[in-house]
Symmetry: C2
Subunit: 346 residues, 2 copies
DNA sequence: AGGTGTCGCGGAAACGGTTCCGCCGCCGGC
DNA sequence: GCCGGCGGCGGAACCGTTTCCGCGACACCT
């Protein structure tokens, strides 16, 4: 690591190539209105001196940083679901030469907007062009962000109980069709006593629950839903759900779990009680996380295309940046059933 | 979202507070050499105008960006292991007002350094102050990065077959003591026929293998190691390992799996063949991933403190930035056994 | 031949901060 | 009473780019 000598500037290059600084700048930015010969002379000088333009000075003039911030709310760390969204964002960002700052923020759902402690990244002006909101997002935080007058896109499924006109952009997956497909498929496999379980405090769970109810009604079947709010992990919710299902008479032959983690909890409790999936009880998840493949047999579940959500978020933010006044919208991505091996044909 | 009016600059503030720009700048940067009364007048003006300094202009003068890049090599997305490292980096960075750009890079282990396609973030000068290298890192990439003369710290365990003098900083966990503890513990529970399995192509696996061998030797027990390289997933490696273990006579009573994913593969294959953990065969993992808690019963494994690795990386990079000429070093973090329920007392 | 449009180019101005120089006034020492 | 030092402060210069203005040369048209 050389001790930093005086860095080479655009003026050094101009001098070396015997041209004006404007010309060097033009070459740097695509070379419009510069003759072939001059371009080559300048490029040679750039190579010879090992010149690389200073990113900060550039950004100052450009008036935007080409950096967006992926802001994770109220999570300990980005586990696989959000990690995949982040990767989707990064992939797309890289292809269009944008950069992604990863930041986290924690706050209570109840604190007033102006008491939320923002991460340092949001305290400077011009540090990031826009925001991508993921994690569990409460309305107070959205209000706070809106005060900052910085463009942002939210991952809509994780927005909790937001009321009033939605004056921001969001990208969501539509869990409804996927869950409909899942329930129909289960019925198609001959099941009639099909339970659903998931804490409908969460809006994303409500959608799945409604899809379940609709399909059951459509087939004139009695819904068996366990949707009580419980302040426990998904895994433990699954344990509890399995208990309720087993206690129910007549016993359901299939369980639609609110998500893959709940399904995992159901699975382990069933196994502990000596029951096998799918021989004794069939099981369906939601999300298609990595863990679904870990299960044995692999879990039939509903796929959410997380990388595509990330990409769509980034794309939408960019559109907003380019057209600040366009009307707010929501982009909905489809979900679909992934049939694996946990639903038995009756 | 208001259409951007002319942004407020430091000169506007100076005019409003009837002071010079220098004074405003001094107030902004800690207020040394400014009287109490003036400070207050300036601060009032800042509040009144809603002035926030422009990040880019600041950075240009400061000569560093206060941004580091977390660079993930050759991974599809940040798995929970790396996600936790990233979170450790972010946590610490936030506390000292540094920012973390997340970027990914993919390259073959064999391509020559100058043919590796670097992510755009590294192509500008001054965009990031330093690099944090994670993922699976091959020597060709390290050589390429070194040419760039940008300070970096590598997550050492993931550095593959680097030879020669190590002229960069790294943070690693020392898997040896944790694995030693794990094997000793297993022996302490009365096991004598203890198998080890893991692809020792990977340097981190080699360390665990050596620890296993050392303890077995220390107790005068015959090692039963399955370390063949196999181009399959960890999970499938576990399947294969379980097969080998079951075929072996006399049959081992415990399996030390190279990592938690391998353990998971072993577990599912054992269960398929009608064997229970730990009643029929005991099992130990390594890494202490989220999945270890998913297993049933929860997996006894070796904990790697991933957040601390992240924090240490960030801290080390900062030291390097402040003292560019200090000698290179490696920071080693301890690992330790986490006893849960998959080793049976014989 | 003269006007006019276009291309290529040089260099000044601008961006929004920080840094530094120099001035003023006050205080303390002799 | 004079002088030196220093705290407080204003404002010019500067950082390394981009942008813009203006100029000369040349081609084309009338």
């Amino acid at each position: 690591m050389k001790v930093a000598a005086k860095p080479i500037t655009i003026r050094d290059v101009a001098r070396a190539a015997a041209v004006g600084v404007g010309t060097v700048s033009r070459v740097l930015n695509g070379g419009a209105h510069v003759s072939r010969a001059t371009t080559e002379r300048v490029e040679a000088a750039i190579r010879r001196l090992g010149f690389r333009p200073n990113a900060q000075a550039r950004r100052m003039l450009r008036r935007h940083s080409e950096i967006v911030c992926f802001l994770l709310s109220n999570r300990d760390f980005p586990h696989t679901f959000h990690a995949r969204i982040l990767q989707g964002v990064e992939n797309y960002a890289r292809s269009i030469r944008q950069h992604v700052i990863f930041a986290a923020v924690h706050y209570g759902a109840e604190v007033s907007p102006d008491r939320i402690h923002l991460p340092p990244i949001l305290q400077e002006r011009g540090m990031v062009d826009g925001l991508l909101l993921a994690g569990t997002i409460y309305p107070n935080f959205l209000h706070r962000i809106q005060e900052m007058e910085i463009p942002f896109v939210a991952f809509g499924n994780n927005v909790m109980e937001y009321e009033g006109p939605r004056n921001f952009d969001q990208v969501s997956y539509d869990g409804y069709p996927g869950e409909v497909e899942a329930v129909r498929y289960t019925i198609g496999q001959g099941h009639r006593l099909i339970a659903f379980g998931g804490d409908t405090t969460y809006p994303w769970m409500r959608v799945r629950h409604e899809a379940y109810l609709a399909v059951m009604r459509e087939h004139k079947l009695n819904p068996i839903a366990f949707t009580a709010p419980r302040p426990v992990s998904n895994l433990e919710y699954g344990d509890w759900l399995a208990g309720r299902v087993l206690a129910r008479r007549p016993r359901p032959t299939a369980v639609i779990a609110g998500n893959d983690e709940v399904a995992f909890g159901v699975w382990r409790t069933l196994r502990r009680r000596g029951l096998r999936v799918p021989e004794d009880i069939s099981l369906v998840g939601f999300d298609d996380r990595e863990e679904a493949m870990l299960m044995d047999p692999p879990l039939t579940t509903v796929r959410v295309r997380k990388e595509e959500i990330g990409q769509a978020c980034m794309r939408m933010l960019l559109e907003r940046l380019h057209h600040p006044t366009m009307p707010y919208s929501e982009r909905l991505l489809a979900t679909e059933l992934v049939v694996r091996d946990t639903v038995k044909k009756l």
